[in-house]
Structures are given as C-alpha cells and as structure tokens.
Amino acid sequence: MNKVADNTVQGEAFPTAATPTNLSRRRFLLASAGITAGAFVLGVGLPARTARAEALAKPAFRGTRVPAFLEIRPDNTIRLQSPFIEGGQGTFTAMAQVVGEELDADPATFIVENAPPGPTYSVMDSGMRVTGGSMSVRFGSVPMRRMGALARLMMLQAGSQDLGVPVSELTTQPGRVVHTASGRSLTYGQLAPQAMDLPVPDPASVKLKEPSQFRWIGKPLQRLDVYDKSTGKAVYTIDTRVDGMLHAAVQHAPRLGMTVGSIRNENQLKAMKGVHSVHRLPGAVAVVAERWWNAKRAAEAAQVDWQEPAADSTLRVMPADFSTKAFRERLASESGTGEDAETKGHVADALKNAHTVVSATYSSQYLNHAQLEPPSTLVRFNPDGTLDVWLPNQAPDMFLADIAKRTGLDPSKINIHSPLLGGFFGRHFIYPTASPYPEALQLAKETGRPIKLIWSREEEFLRDTLRPMAAVHFQGGLDANGTPVALEAVSVTEGPTENINNKRGEKLDDSALEGLTGKSYAIPDRRIAQLYVKTPVTCGYWRSVGNSMNDFLYETFLDELADKGRQDPYDLRMRLLQGNQRLTNLLHAVGELSGGWKRGPFTAADGTRRARGVAMASPFGSQTAVIAEVSIRDGKVQVHDVWEAIDPGSIVNPAIVEAQVSGAVALGLSQVLFEEAVYENGVPAARNYDMYPILRPDHMARVHVRIVESGATMGGVGEPPLPAVPPAVANAVSHLTGQRIRSMPLSRYTFA
C-alpha cells in the first residue's frame, strides 16, 4: 500500500514586525510549501530588523516595509506577500508585474501569496485592506510599485557595499545589480541577505518609472497560477487539513432566525458510522465526524424541531410567508418620492413641461453568488493559546477583528490564513450568518479538536447572501423632437451595505443606487432617489454590486425613451454624450469593433432573424460600452456575439483584462438570461445548480474585446465589464421581439 501524500497545511505566516520569527520553523514552512529541500532560508524579515521596521509604523507612505513583502532567494526567485487575494481575477500576477517593474525583476520569477493581516499590508490610501470594489490594481499598484522601487534601491545600496563603488555607478538588469564600468555584477539573490537588512530608504528618494520605460506593465504576461490550477495543485480552503482534524457538516434552520428546539433522533445520529459528536449551534445542528461524508449524512438525517425566532432576535428574521414574487410586487407598488441621491435642475417642472412623458416600473431580481467552491473553514486552537483559522476571505484584517471579538483572544494570538478563492464575486466579505467560521470556531472549542467545517452546496444556497432586488419607478420627459429632457428614477430597494450593517447610514447607501447615479448623459433635469423598503432577505455584494442591476434598469429605460421618441438608441447615446470625448470615443470604439452599428432586425447567414442592442456603464472608475447580438430560437433568447469596449484609463495586463471581460460577459449573460433566487414560504426554491441555472457552455456568446487606454485615472477591471451586458442583451431582445423588457431574467418571458 502506498502512503498517501499528506496535504497538511502549515502557517504560511511571513515574518513581519509584529511576528517574531523562528528561523527553523520558517525553514520547515518553506519546505512544506513545496520549496525544494536545501533551499536556504535567507535572513530576511528577522527580528533584528524589527526595531527599524517599527520606526516605520506610521510611514509617510503606506506599504514601505520592504522585508515584510519580499523574500529574495539565492536562486533569484522572489516570494511576494500580496495585500490582495487571488480568486481568479489575476491580481497575484498583476502584483508581480508592478513590483517586478520597479524592482527590475522578471515577474515570472515571482511566487505570490496572500499576506497575513496587519497594517503593514494595508497599502491603499484608504487604509483599508479589501480585495473588492475592483480596487486591487487600481489603488494597490502605485504603493506596490513604490515598494518595488525601494527594494531595488536597497539592492543597489547592498551592491555598493559589496562592490565598493558608489550607488551612482551602479545600475540594474533584471534580477541583478551591475557595475558596468568593471563588468562586475551580483544577483539579487546574492545581495538579499545584506539588502534586506538595510534600513528602508525614504520613500521620497525613489522615483517611479514613466510608462514609456515600462518593460512588463502593459504586457500580456502569462498568469503565474495557471499551471498549478491546471494540474490540481492549487490549494483552496476546502483542501486544507491539519493533523488531528475532524470534519463537520451542518443542517441549518430552514429560515434565518429560527433556533434549535429538540433533535428527535439525536441518539441515532450519534450512533451513525464515524460520528464523533452532535452539536447545537445558533440556528443549526452540526455533526462532527472522522470523515466529511459521514458528517454530512448524519447532519442531513437530523430530525430537528425548529423553534420560531424569538421576538427579540437581532437577526434579520425570515418570515414564514415570505415570497420573492409577492415582494417584487410590493416594491413595484410602493409609492413615494424617496430621498434624493443625485439631482440636477428641476425634474418636476421639466416633466410637467415635456412634450411626452414616459412612465414605467422596472425591476431586478435576487441573485446567488453560486461560486464553485462551497464555503468552508478550518479552525485549530493551539496548546500555546494561539488560534489558526483558514477561511475564504476578501479582507483578512476584518475577519481577524471579528474572530478576536468572538473568541476573546488578542488579535496577536490569531493567525488568519487566506488560501486561494474558488471564485468569490463578492461572496467572502463579513457576512456573519452566511459564513461557516463562527460555527467552526464553536465546534473546535466544544470538541477540543481542529475542525474543518464544509457547507454542502445545499446549505450554501440556503444561507448565501443575495444581490438585492429593486423596483425602479422611472419617468422620462421628451421634447418635441423626441430627445430626453428630464429623467426621474425612484428606486424602491434596500442597498447591500445598509442590509449587511442592518441599519441605515447617515447618508444614502451608494451601493443601492450606483448605476442609476453617476450616468453621464446630458439630460438637463434629472433626479435619482431611493425609497427605502427593508427586505427580510440577507443581502451581500455581488460582482459589480449596485451597477449589476442599476445599469440594466437605467439603460433599458433609456432605450424605451429612445423608441418612444423615435430615436436610434446608439445615435441618441452619442448625442447625449456630445462633448464627452472619453465616452464618445468609447461608443465609437464598440461600434467599430462590431463592424459598425446596425440595430437590425436583419437576417443572418444562417437564416435567423437577429437584432443588436447597445448599453453603457461607468462602474468602479472605468467606462464600458457593449453591443450584443441576439436571436430567438424555440422561444428562448440566444446571444451570439458580445462586443465590449472598456476604458479603465490605463492597465497592467491586457490578457488578464480580456479574460476578465470575457468572464464578466458570462456572468452578465447568466444574470440576464437565467438567474433568479426565488423564495416561497420563507425558503429558497433552489438549493443547488439543478434549480438555480447558471450559464452553461452552450449558452456562451463569442466575446470581442477592445481595451481603450484613455490615460484617465486608473479604474477597476474585475467588475466593470459586467453591468452593460444585461441591458445590451435586453435592448436587443426588446427591439427584435417588440416586447419591452423591464425585468430579468429573460427566461421568465415567453417569446413567439
């Protein structure tokens, strides 16, 4: 019999000022991380340097503790601690590109990991450390470039000492310091032990490269993680294990807020094969077993008398009669003027004076994240009083603070590990009722053993946070020429941020309204408002957040206005953007990419009748324009081609940008064609992919991408390509079928 290779994970903790370093332990860790035996662990990040690093505790520039970010090995490979987690969006590769650019080291020589929590890695000017909001490259690339430039200067300084020549006589070539005059050079790997022990230079002493000098930024470099992800070597939280670990599964209460009454067959559960123990958790019954399959079977078999929620429950209690269909109708019938989010001119007067007024109510649907990796958490309380937690997360510091609060442990005693994410799309922020870690912590405490809790796909669909639903009352005024002169949108909704916080903020929730707000069309009088209605549903962020629905709502209504005014929707947009060079360029770009704007309907080569729709969006600092071509086959919408032009200002890796556009098109198509989280009687109708259809390969459209680098302030890339996709499709369908599309998904419509 063969001994099974043990995938036991160990702390990947990288030494920081806050983490005393045990060199021998680190050597072991590197070995366990797959580094070849004999790789020598450099004296980087050692306590000797801690004092100096501490002196930089409040640096003028964030992210300047170079030794905490970089380990340069004798073989010149570079281990980089990334402030941003990799979940498919390519940020690890982008970080290697921007650091490598300034350090002068080939990004292909980088090994990138997610850094542990701590202020050292909060590199964004906001002081936050979040992988979300399409912020990583947008706000992280400049500080990370600066860190790379500082590291390069330290290499030069160490080279100066070693070669006995002034820094001014030295230069670098990728991975080495060169003294051209004498022809001598030293590799970064040779210099690292000295270099990383030098004081970090004044951040003001380094100058970042001009774009014209870039060697790697802007190039379509290969991703660093593709081979591992093509051979099963990539490790996600669900793959982690530690010695002595037990597995856990849960059965949640059917409705949030309910509590465990009695477990009628508890003794039988305990007698099931492999079962270690049965536990009562807030709103769940858990089974701990030697193997997850045994735990899951027993958890599913539990016959629980669920108690109705207590009157004073602080949770967002799900009522027994909740129905998404009824709730959508309720939102649509809610009347009121709402609270102003964005106003210009006097919309009421303008509507009164308009030649034609168009009124319509549009709505969006609840959506699941449906990322392929079901959530899990591995928890280990250690004999020395420390705690290790492995969990999928987009913000390690936030989870650290939350876990410290829950356990009463000092944050310095808690090691947060952030493995690769098996998709996220907004799924892994702090959603206390929607994440396994509070349960895993309790189970590890109660059993005294390390616990890995995996939520089955069914439990995930039951407790996932949903993209909000909104009904928007639109009124548009047209002048005698059919040009929009007034637009009012009152969104009846609760935004994700106010939902997650379970209270309204001082200001309106931007994440509720973005995409209705922030439009650039020159409609002289307009008003965007929110009419708040609290939902019983636990909501969260979903790729492109408010824009994911609001650009659909706005851009489809804009087409309705165009049709009412007998305007071509592409030409109308161009006119409404007159003088806005960035957006008219972008609209021209997508038109050109599609072979010239033609709305149709027309007959394609295969005999099908087709039409095209157009839409635009301005999400997360970037600008996008999309054209989609559709036909109807057997009453169902087919999307043939999607052309997307995206202007993020400037970019780091065009190949990754294209991949993100293609992926965002897929998710946008999935939303507009198929997806809707339906609740009846307080429970979700879908608990797995069989009842919650997501886009399948045969539904995928061809995707054509044009990246426009206008040079404007850098915007995001992960989320921005999504929001204009659903309205472009819906606008094409409205035109092709003559049936006005005012809601998603299109699978709910019947087309002749």
Partner: protein
C-alpha cells in the same frame, strides 16, 4: 476495498456506498478533485474511470473497485492529459481554477476517445460549469487540441489506451459515465446546433 488510483493500489476503509469523491479527497488526501455540487450538476469532481470521465460525487466507491481511476494529480502521466494541460497553459484558461480539474478530465476523456473530435462532439463533452466564465478559453484550448484551429498543438502521441476513433464519424454520446447510479449519463448531442456560428 482496494482501489487502483493513478497507478497505485490503495486499501480504503470507507463504506461501500461512499461517493468516490470523498474517498479520494478525505481518505486519500488527493484534493485536486473538487466538490462543487454533490449531485452531478457541475462536473468539478470529474475523474477518469477506465478512461471515461466520471462524476465522482455520485459514484459509490464499490462501483469502481477493480477499475483504473485517474485523478488530476496524475494527469500529466497520461500522454493526452499532458497535452491538455499544455493547451490549458497556452490558452491561459483558468481564472479561479476551481472547476478546471474537472474540465481537464472531461477534455482528456474526449480526446482519448476521439483524436479529432468534431465541434458537436466537443460541445457534447465539455459541459462542466464554470462560474468565472472561462468557456471560450476552454473551447479554444479544446479546438486547438482537436486540430481544428490555427496554432494547434499537434494531436499526436495519443497513448495506446485511447480508442482512437477517426474524427467526424462518430456521434457524440455517453461522454459522462455515472457509474453505479441510475442516471446513466448520455449527454448526447443536446448542445449541438444552437443556431450560432462556430467561432
């Protein structure tokens, strides 16, 4: 029970009706094969059983005793699998990567059965879900392997185990085997001819 996985023999303790997936992952520690849905919907758990792609999350372990099981960990020991991995790297297919073990298993199984699969056969075989939306990259990689696209990786060196049928002659059927489960899979040609041009 003894299982033959990746050319080695393992003695396993799990109950006979335990899904193969959980034996592979938990008992043997081979975590490259993923749990996605547990009901044969997504394909993340795909492995090869005697060369046929099989959804291990619904395959009782007793049903595969005596059969040759290949997981992603051994994919590069298979000539076809190695070429598939190379194509995945060339086309930079993965994003989050979670579904890709299963996608690669599906592609490997297809190409072991059919040296030059037709578009229809590819559509019928490549049905696994991907939430990141890498479908076009997957399609490009598989078409490249199938020899139908520019910049192709030559479809040579297929291992002797593959039943190298000639391309374009056979109807795509039964590319998913759900061993021991009532739903014996025939994905068939449902994905063909959806009215759009092939890219």
């Amino acid at each position: 029970m003894e299982l033959q996985i990746n050319g080695k023999t393992y003695e396993v303790q799990a109950d006979a009706d335990t899904p193969l997936l959980w034996v592979i992952r938990d008992e043997l520690g081979l975590t490259g094969t993923k749990y996605g849905c547990g009901i044969a919907q997504c394909g993340a758990c795909s492995v090869l059983v005697d060369g046929a792609v099989t959804r291990s999350c619904v395959t009782p372990v007793e049903g595969v005793v005596g059969k040759k099981i290949t997981t992603i960990e051994a994919i590069e020991t298979d000539d076809v699998g190695k070429r598939v991995v190379e194509a995945w790297v060339k086309h930079q297919v993965p994003q989050c990567g979670y579904c890709q073990s299963g996608q690669i298993m599906a592609a490997t199984s297809l190409l072991r059965q059919t040296l030059h699969p037709t578009d229809e056969e590819i559509s019928a075989a490549m049905v696994n879900l991907c939430r990141c939306g890498t479908y076009n990259a997957i399609s490009a990689a598989v078409h490249d392997l199938a020899g139908g696209r520019p910049g192709q990786i030559a479809a040579t060196g297929v291992s002797g185990q593959a039943s190298a049928r000639e391309s374009g002659k056979t109807v795509a059927t039964a590319t998913i085997a759900l061993v021991g489960i009532a739903a014996l899979g025939t994905i068939g040609a449902k994905a063909t001819g959806n009215g759009r041009d092939e890219s």
